[in-house]
């Protein structure tokens, strides 16, 4: 069985949570108060991730898709469990769409979608063949460079003097309502509650459950701070108006960097940053999907599923949305309400309640049995 280390779990969690967020911005609907959304989302996220970790503690030795059959029984639990790999697969398709719109808008203007999707998936599929150990290892290799690139862009942005703190004012002009609206479900789910997927690999980590809890929560705070820094920079750099209307606000910001007329036009580097993090997110989505299907269908080798899943992903990448506007609209207005609320919030909470009740009954029975003796 493949094993990953604690540090690898940390790296994968950060990559997974930061994912596509740093480029698309976070809580854009709340305008200049998006940073407040980020903080609240982070707090809610920590809470919900703790619950997931608690669930994994209550179901020792089981992955996410095995929790439901174990607690709800075979007939109710299995259909619910099937929803999760399908969700992962669909989310993978969404990432592919992000990439195809982004690359064709910014760096490869005339390249056909299919070429990009196929090339991207080719690399992802190769990684699936290599397994989670290798994914974790390349995560380890790229993580320092990823951080250096983020820090580098922060330094460049600071040096080129484009940040205006005035852009943050006035705080809470429209009250708390828009903030809460963009916190739930979108903000708290995006990245944070999505970490439920990581329950597929918590079992593989070669440390105690306590260490996994520590690492995951630490990684969550870490990525929350990364997102917060990005959001603050974008708002102060380009202002509320552009933050709301730009498709890729991070690019709008990075392309404003100009140091002495020499260091400028760094969009391509920002794309690289984005591609790396999107790549890890997609690889993890597909890995979790394949692993979920493997456990549910009881196929002995997950390798057999890689090609079918990749082919489905090609189709999804091509067809999830027909244009960028639709893609974003679904991402903000449809998808979180229809899928995430159900799968990332209601079902896990129901599972928690059922698990606790079953546990309580079991304990009661035990006590009674002991009392009888």
């Amino acid at each position: 069985m493949e094993r990953i280390s604690q540090y690898q779990l940390f790296v994968l969690t950060v990559f997974f949570q930061v994912g596509t967020t740093i480029i698309f911005g976070f809580g854009a609907a709340a305008g200049r108060d998006a940073w407040i959304v980020t903080i609240i989302s982070l707090l809610v996220g920590i809470f919900v991730i703790s619950i997931y970790l608690f669930l994994s503690y209550l179901n020792p030795g089981l992955t996410l898709v095995e929790w439901f059959p174990a607690q709800f029984g075979k007939w109710i639990g299995t259909p619910i469990a099937w929803l999760y790999p399908l969700l992962f697969l669909y989310e993978g398709g969404r990432i592919l769409n992000d990439i195809k719109y982004l690359t064709t808008t910014i760096i490869l203007v005339d390249t056909p979608f299919l070429a990009i999707i196929l090339f991207f998936l080719l690399v992802v599929a190769y990684l699936q063949y290599c397994g989670i150990e290798v994914i974790a290892r390349i995560g380890e290799i790229f993580f320092p460079y990823f951080l250096v690139m983020i820090l580098g862009s922060v330094v460049l942005i600071l040096v080129s003097d484009i940040l205006r703190v005035d852009n943050l004012l006035p705080v809470l002009k429209n009250g708390w309502k828009p903030i809460l609206a963009s916190t739930f479900p979108l903000g708290a789910s995006q990245g944070f509650a999505q970490s439920l997927e990581l329950a597929m690999i918590w079992l593989l980590v070669s440390t105690s459950h306590k260490e996994i809890v520590k690492t995951t929560l630490f990684a969550t705070v870490f990525s929350g701070l990364l997102i917060l820094i990005t959001v603050l920079m974008i708002i102060t750099g380009i202002g509320e108006f552009f933050y709301k209307i730009e498709s890729f606000p991070m690019f709008a910001l990075v392309s404003k960097v100009n140091i002495g007329g020499i260091i400028k036009n760094l969009d391509a580097f920002a794309v690289l940053l984005f591609i790396i993090s999107a790549f890890f997110k997609l690889s993890l989505h597909l890995f979790f999907a394949i692993r979920g299907f493997q456990i549910l269908t009881k196929v002995e080798s997950s390798r057999k599923l890689i090609i079918p899943i990749t082919i489905i992903s090609i189709y999804l990448g091509y067809s999830v949305s027909s244009n960028y506007e639709e893609h974003i609209k679904v991402a903000i207005e449809v998808f979180p309400y229809n899928l995430w609320i159900m799968l990332l919030w209601i079902l896990p909470f129901a599972l928690l309640i059922v698990t606790l009740i079953k546990r309580a009954i079991k304990n009661r029975k035990k006590e009674m049995a002991q009392a009888k003796e």
């Binding site: 990009i116 090339f119 994914i135 390349i138 790229f142 007329g261 020499i262 036009n265 794309v271």
Partner: protein
Amino acid sequence: MRRNMFFKNTKIKKDDWDNVTVKVDAELIPAKISEVLNNIKITMGNSTDLVTRDFKTGKDGSIDIGIAYVDGLADKVFVQDYIIQPLMTDLRMTGLDIEIEKDPNVFEVIKNFNLVSGDLKEIIDLKTLYTHLLSGDTIVLIEGYKKGFAVSSQGWQDRGIQEPTSQTVVRGPKDGFTETLRTNTSLIRRRIKNTDLWIETIPVGNKTQTDVALLYLKDVANPKIVNEVRMRINKIEIDAILESGYIEEMIQDKTFTVFPTIHNTERPDAACAAILEGKIIIMVDGTPFVLIAPAVFVEFFQSSEDYYQRADISSLLRMLRYFCLFLALITPSAYIAVTTFHQEMLPTLLLISLAAQREGVPFPALIEAVMMEVTFEILREAGVRMPRAVGSAISIVGALVLGQAAVEAGIVSATMVIIVSLTAIASFVCPSFNMAISIRILRFVFMILAATFGLFGIIMGLIMMVAHLASLRSFGVPYLSPMAPMVAADQKDVFVRVPIWKMITRPSFISQSDSRRQATPSPKPPNKSTNEGGSQGENK
């Protein structure tokens, strides 16, 4: 074994051959000398370098003795002075006859009193006889005994210990391995005077019977890896081993990769350092290149000189090497990507200058780059293979005709010549030749990726390359360790080389036993108090 999958017939033939060997195995030495010597002559087809001799000695010539050796392998003077001389003349002059009369076992008497040699083996079957004969030993046979002696008398012409040509250093030992296995093992033994340094020899090659030696520090090396290496070498079924490259290709983990998973060196000090890290050295008779297993990626960017120069210099040079790795891999493809897809990334003036240069060039950037890179590869290969005498011709042709004239003729742009030369020089910075070759192969892949997908292609290519590297293993050790999986304690010798006194433990990804290298704290001059002299400190 792998070969059998493709050629079904080989298997049958191999079985036949096995049967033959079994027969030879069983064949014992006949008691009659003439019979044995004839057997040798017939088996070896009366080869002209085979020398056989039989003579009578002892009182009244009662003892018949036969000797055989291969001229050129055996030391003629030694054979003359220490084998023939004592047997032929001394045996008569000394009082040995009395001994023989006392004890009729002539064989034992001769063994104990006459053969003046430290390395003497009794042999009873013909197969061993031939192995010894062809290794340079002298065979001594005595009439009436179904056994003989193999007296070690090797003495052939070999190249002396010279400075290694493939891995040179400014500071450090200048001796290099030679083609003789025994000389090579002695170079190691001279540096590591420790009973734990174990040497195992395995003959490999059905036809060549080449000696392959494993060297390791018994208490440091990981026994699992030692067993694995031994097992893989034992499994080799091949007719000939002519260089350590044969062994390398036969025993490496994954055959489908451009990256070397076994390191090689010509330097005894580098081999010793590897042994002391718990690695295993595989020496092959007949080549100065010894193999080091297991090998990890970063090792190919370490030179033995890194440890002889000061730590700060070495760290800087090492970082320079990684930077050059990046340059050698990416420069041409980055140029292609930027000029083809991302012109906006360049400062305007530079862009105008580049565009003006490329104005007259009839090819797209990819064709231009591939053309020049291939030209360089041709030049390099020609430089390695051709006779030394015509060396200057190549440099003239390379520099003038292909460089300057190509630009002036408007076939390539001057920038491209700069890019190609930069790449070429950067690829030679890598201390290990076989890693440099892998980088050069991948460079072409990256150029094609850059021409199709621009920077996106390059970054995906990099991810794929790192994934491939991360999936490789060398004898169970992950190829990218200690970076991935991350071992914080082993970062001391990756991108920087920390001072020797900081290298307290051996790299843990190779071996966990006896991992402490030195005592802490290391010997230091005594602490001097701020305002008093050194003598005060010494008194404390």
